[in-house]
Structure formats: C-alpha cells, structure tokens
C-alpha cells in the first residue's frame, strides 16, 4: 500500500473505528428502558463516540508499532493510561477499556522496542521459545517448590489475619473448582476425550449425597463414599455407549448427557424435588464427634464445647475449607501417581494416537472407561461437598455453563497440567471476583482476559509437559557425548 505509515495507519484505524461504530451502535448505543409499563429506547451516544475514538486510537497505535514507530507510541500510550486513570468517563467500563487498552499498547510497544534492540545487536540470540513460554517452563520445572509453597499457603490461609468470611468463601469456591478441574483433567487433559458434560457427575454426586443423607439419615462421612460410588457407576454407565465415538461426536454426546441429567433432575419431582431442589441437607460434623452448632440438641456435642472455645460461625467455614482442601489434594496426589503408572501412560498415549495404541495391544475401551470412571468419582465427591456446603441444591447449579467453566479451566491451564489447573482457576474464577466492582460489565473484562490468554499462550498457560519417566536427569544435557548434542 502506498502512503506514509501515518496515512496507512489512519486508513486502517478508520476502518476499525467504523466496524466498532456498527457494532457498538445497536449493542451499546441503544438501551431499552421500562417507562410506565412501556418499553422505550434510550440512546447513549456519548458512550458510542468514546468507543469509536478509543478503537481508532488503539488501532492506530498498534499499526504504528507494527510500522516500527514503537518509540513514538510508548509515551502516548503511557499518557493515555495515566490520563485515563484520573479522567472521568461516561461509564466505568470505558475507563477500564482506556486504561487496559493503553497498557496493552504500551506493552506491545515495549516488546517491539526490546525485540528491535535485540535483533539490532550483531549476534542475535537464537529465537527459541518466547519469554512467556520460558517463564512457564521454568515455573513448571520448579513445580515441586511452587507446589510446597502453594500447599503451605493454602493450609495457613484460615489462620492469616485477612481471612474473613468472604475470603474463606471465595477460597472454598476456588478449591471446589480446582478439584473439578483436576477431575476433568484426567478425561480431557490426559486421555484427550473432550467431555462437555462433566457437570453431570458433579450433579450425580450432589444429588446422591443429598438423597442418601436425607432419606437414609446417613451422616456426611457415610454418604460421601456412597456418593463417590454412585459417580463411578454413572461414569461407567455413560461410558459404555459413548466411548466408541470419537472426537466431535463424543463431545456432542457428552454435552447431551449433561443436559439429560439436568432435565431428569428437573422433572423427576417425587425424588429430586424438581425445580425447587432439595433443602436442609445435613452439614458435615467434626468426624462424627461434634457438631458445628451454637446450642447442640440433647446428646450432641458442639465443636466449640469440645475444644473449649467461644462459638464462632467461622469454625464451620474453616472446617469446610480444610475439608475441600484435603479432598482436592487427595485427588491431585492420586492423579499425579496415576500419570506415572501404566494406566496414566496409556491415557496419554490414547490422546496422542489411539490407532497406535490398538496396534500395541492396548484395549482402548477399558482405558477410556477407567479415565471416565475415575474422573466421575472425583466429580461426584466434589458434588457431595457442594451439597453439604450449600445445604441446598437445585438443577440450576448444574447447567451447561458449569461444564464450560470447568473445561475452560482445564484448557486454559494447559491440557494435562495439574499446576495449570490451579493457575487457570485463579484466573477464571478469581478474575470475575476481582472485577465484581464492574457489575454487569465484569464478563466483558473476563472475556478480554480469555482472548489475551489465547493470543499469548494458545496451548494454555502452563503447556510444558514433563515426561513421566526420565533416563537422564532433568534440565542438564545427557552426560555422555555432549559435543554431539549440537547436531540439531
């Protein structure tokens, strides 16, 4: 294309701004308002104009960076960030877009400058993996250390001064999703089966737990293993017909199965209570020895009496927190161990090439079924925990979006990476909590985050895979014939 970089950039940016205008006008510019029982339209042209300006500026800046004018763009971008921080915008969202967009542009400009400086040097270092990839690989290599620190922090959390009710609540939710992510990781990350209906097993666990506890009067510690068994059985029952399918077909059938379970829960009113769900699910007790209540009924012991403490609602929350922490860690240890066993290796081999697996005498159905049953068991345990924590369950909690979120956690984390699941949960569940102040726009911020992750780390945050068994020590090159190691 002809013209100076500015003219080209301006033309491109004008087009982007036009697209933004077309999209923003109906989506942001018009808003239906209920006035005197009639719907009328409100126009918000200031917002539309701001969006168009912001898109134009952002696109223009990105183009200039691409044309090699990063040094010029950087101060402008920083100015926008600082200015945006203090300036008043029509809505809070525009402020986020301005500041965030400015940050992205600034980051791109810095990257471009650094890259330019590096390639200008006479001996350019080999391209190699990008900064993010190297960071992720290093992070994973030190995974033992990170793991120990993380677990220690998790155990210490309730004792820390800032651990109030809300922090504990969020932490417990995060751990529930981490556990679900670890469970689904077996099916999706290791065995490579795209399961879009994982929430079905979560629901089976929750309802099995609730029904066992309510109708048979079983306590938490009796109902939990039975609910886990129910999960495993449902996994095997679903697995038999479904596991013959491959790829997309498999995904669609699991999606359907997830919905079938939800519809059954919704319509089988005599057993599941239908849309009104099941309430008054028993809370967990302290290993059958004490209850978390202020005034225990006759014959019961209360937790605070047992330990001679003042009654505090937090006791139960802390107990729940530790409960899910231990359950999740058990799931993690079992999965890590399985990965190094023949079964786990067969899962990964199946993900890589199932025809080759057959040619090596591996029974695909059995291996897949094992993955399905184990993941379903973990899902059901998480479901039981959910039921006892909430004290109330209804089909609404087990909609498709839950499956999608858990899947997003696994995929974002980097398929098969256990640490990746933790990081991704912090992003996927944590970010919307952090952005709670943005109210209805927080999902936009969330979506933006997702897009950025997929741009920078398309195979997940921590996609580096460590072999399950090594011949040579990790990191260092093989001891013998290091000279030949350069022949690559």
């Amino acid at each position: 294309m002809a013209g100076s970089p500015y003219a080209r950039g301006a033309r491109d940016a004008a087009f982007a701004a036009f697209v933004a205008f077309v999209i923003a006008l109906p989506m942001v510019g018009m808003r239906t308002v209920d006035r005197n029982l009639r719907l009328t339209l409100d126009f918000r042209l200031v917002e539309v104009a701001s969006i168009v300006v912001l898109v134009f500026a952002g696109r223009f800046a990105m183009r200039l960076v691409g044309e090699g004018l990063a040094r010029l763009v950087l101060p402008a971008a920083i100015a926008v960030v600082v200015g945006g921080w203090f300036a008043d915008f029509a809505t809070q969202t525009l402020k986020v877009v301005a500041v965030g967009g400015g940050l992205v542009v600034a980051a791109t400009a810095i990257l471009a400058i650094v890259k330019g400086a590096r390639s200008a040097r006479p001996v350019a270092p080999s391209a190699g993996p990008g900064l993010a990839a190297r960071f992720a690989a290093g992070f994973q290599r030190s995974t033992v250390l990170v793991g120990i620190v993380g677990v220690a922090f998790a155990f210490a959390l309730p004792l820390l001064p800032f651990a109030d009710r809300r922090v504990l609540d969020v932490a417990t939710t995060l751990l529930t999703y981490i556990m679900l992510g670890w469970g689904l990781n077996i099916v999706v990350g290791l065995a490579g089966l795209l399961d879009l209906g994982y929430v079905a097993f979560y629901a089976v666990g929750a309802y099995a737990f609730a029904l066992l506890a309510m109708s048979l009067g079983l306590g938490f510690w009796e109902a939990l293993p039975l609910a886990a068994v129910a999960g495993a059985v449902s996994g095997i029952l679903l697995g038999f017909p479904v596991l013959r399918l491959r790829g997309d077909y498999f995904a669609i059938v699991t999606l359907g199965f997830g919905e079938i379970i939800r519809v059954i829960l919704l319509t089988w009113v005599p057993v599941t209570g239908g849309p009104s769900g099941i309430g008054n699910i028993p809370r967990p007790d302290f290993f059958g020895m004490a209850e978390f209540v202020r005034r225990p009924v006759e014959g019961q012991v209360a937790f605070h009496q047992m330990f001679g403490l003042e009654f505090d609602v937090l006791h139960r929350l802390i107990f729940l927190y530790y409960l899910i922490l231990v359950l999740a860690l058990v799931v993690n240890v079992v999965t890590l161990r399985l990965r190094k066993l023949p079964l786990g290796r067969a899962w990964e081999a199946l993900r890589e090439d199932d025809i080759a697996c057959t040619s090596l005498g591996i029974d695909r159905t059995n291996v897949k079924l094992a993955a399905f049953a184990i993941a379903a068991t973990f899902g059901a345990i998480a479901g039981s925990f959910f039921a006892t924590r909430q004290g109330f369950i209804s089909p609404e909690s087990f909609s498709f979006i839950e499956s999608a979120i858990i899947l997003a956690i696994v995929v974002l984390g980097g398929m098969g990476s256990q640490t990746g699941v933790v990081v991704a949960t912090l992003v996927v569940i944590g970010l919307p909590e952090v952005f709670r102040d943005l109210a209805e726009y927080r999902m936009i911020a969330f979506g933006l985050g997702m897009v950025l992750i997929m741009l920078w780390r398309p195979s997940g945050l921590l996609a580096h895979r460590e072999p399950t068994v090594r011949l040579h020590p990790a990191g260092g090159p093989p001891a013998e014939t290091p000279a030949a190691g350069t022949a690559r």
């Binding site: 081999a349 990790a474 030949a484």
Partner: protein, 289 residues
Amino acid sequence: MSGGARTPLLTVEHLSMRFGGLVAVDDVGFTAYDREITAVIGPNGAGKTTLFNCLTGFYKPTAGRLALARGGGTFLLERMPAHLIARRAGVARTFQNIRLFAGMSVLENLIVAQHNRLQAASGWSIKGMFGLPSYRAAEREALEKAKAWLERIRLTRRADEPAGDLPYGDQRRLEIARAMCTDPVLLCLDEPAAGLNPRESSELAELLQDIRDSARIGVLLIEHDMSVVMRISDHVVVLDYGRKIADGPPDAVRDDPAVIKAYLGEDDEDELPPEVAADLGVGTAEGRP
C-alpha cells in the same frame, strides 16, 4: 536362508477384502515362515496395506483365513479384535505414515508398548499406586528393556525428548523398536524404508536382519525399496491389483516375467488393438492376460 526345517508362522488362505465394488485383496494365499523375512511387494494400489490391515485386525476381511501359529496353538486372526491380535497372538506392526506418540518422550513410547504386562503387574493400578515391590520390579524390567532398545537404535542420548522432535529416520527406527517392545512373534512393517536416504535404509536393513536373527521372530515387510527387499528377504510375495502374481525366493521373483510386467508395464506392441497388430504383423508373442 535360515537353513533347517522352515516352520510356518502365518498362513494366509483365500484372503479377500472388498470395499463396496472395489476388490482390494482378491483370493490371496501365502505362508510366512518363522525366523524369515517375508517381503510383500507390488505397485501402488496393489493391496499391500489392505492385507496388513486385515492381518492386524484393523479391517475385517470379507473372506479367507489368517492362521498364526504361536506356542503350539493357532490363532485365527480374522476373528480377533485388533488389540487382542497384538496382545495374545503377538502380531506387532508399524505404519506407513509414522504413528508415534509424538508428545510423549522417546523412552515413554517404548514403555507404553509394554502396557499390558505392566498393567497386570500394577494390579489395575492399585499395587502401583502404593508402589509395591512386585510392581516396581516389573517397572524396572520394562525400563531395562526400553534402554536396551534405545542402545540398539542409538537413541539413548535423546531418550527424554518428545518423539515428535526426532528426525524422520530416527522416528522410523523408534517405531520399529516400539513394536518390538510388545514381544511379538510376527513383526509387520509397512514401508519402513520410505523417505530414508541410502545410508539410512542400509542401516535399517541391518537392523531388520538383526531382529530376525537375534529375536528369532518372523518379519513381514511391505517395501518399495528393492535394494532393501532383495538384500534381506528370504521370501517375496508379489501382489498386483489385489491378486498374488508371484511367490518365491527373491532371485526367482526378480526374473519372473509377470512381476516385470506388473512393474514396468507391457511391451508397447501389446497396447495396440489386436487387429491393428495383426495388420502390422507384430504378433503377440505371449498370450494376453
């Protein structure tokens, strides 16, 4: 040739495979002997790979019998599912387009190949979960076997790298080693020398002879590289349009007119319609097929 009495290992009788109207393999029968390399050759589309797929259970043959002798018993391969053919009957194979577990390390590829024995030793993962000594011993043994094969295919140094990162020739050798780690009695190789340079195919030929002589198993080989076929085969079967057109020792097959015709086409004169040929006075020496 491996003197002494030849023991039949695989007997193929009247094998046919149809896909709708297309007859890919048509009434083929031959015998592959233990401790011999049997080469299956033929022009493109002759039905060689289809034959392999029937043999290893990936296709169910339309008709015919595939009998494999192992340990005094006979396995009828046409009745067995693919994974049992590999596991019970001991037929291992490689693929024309390499099928390694690309994301897993070289060493892991060789360990996955020993899945069934390890899985049994791990007591469906329960013994393995607690690392019981019986499982650990089995795992050590599997590792030793993998190491021995890595030495043999000279990949020890790259054992921990993803298999997909290896150069092409190394991938070919690794796939053969992986197949061998299943302890087969019959190794089926689908064009192992495809895409190799002359030095690499010469090394491959040595490896295959070594496997035949030291592992004392039968090898069934599909190959286009005639230098490899003629050098190492004990026995050659030639297919063309799904039919067997020749069967015998390499030297005999090389001089077989039917084989030459299949590969090089018929003489130019034969392409002429008979009446034209008669007019020109160039009669067809051999009878038309």
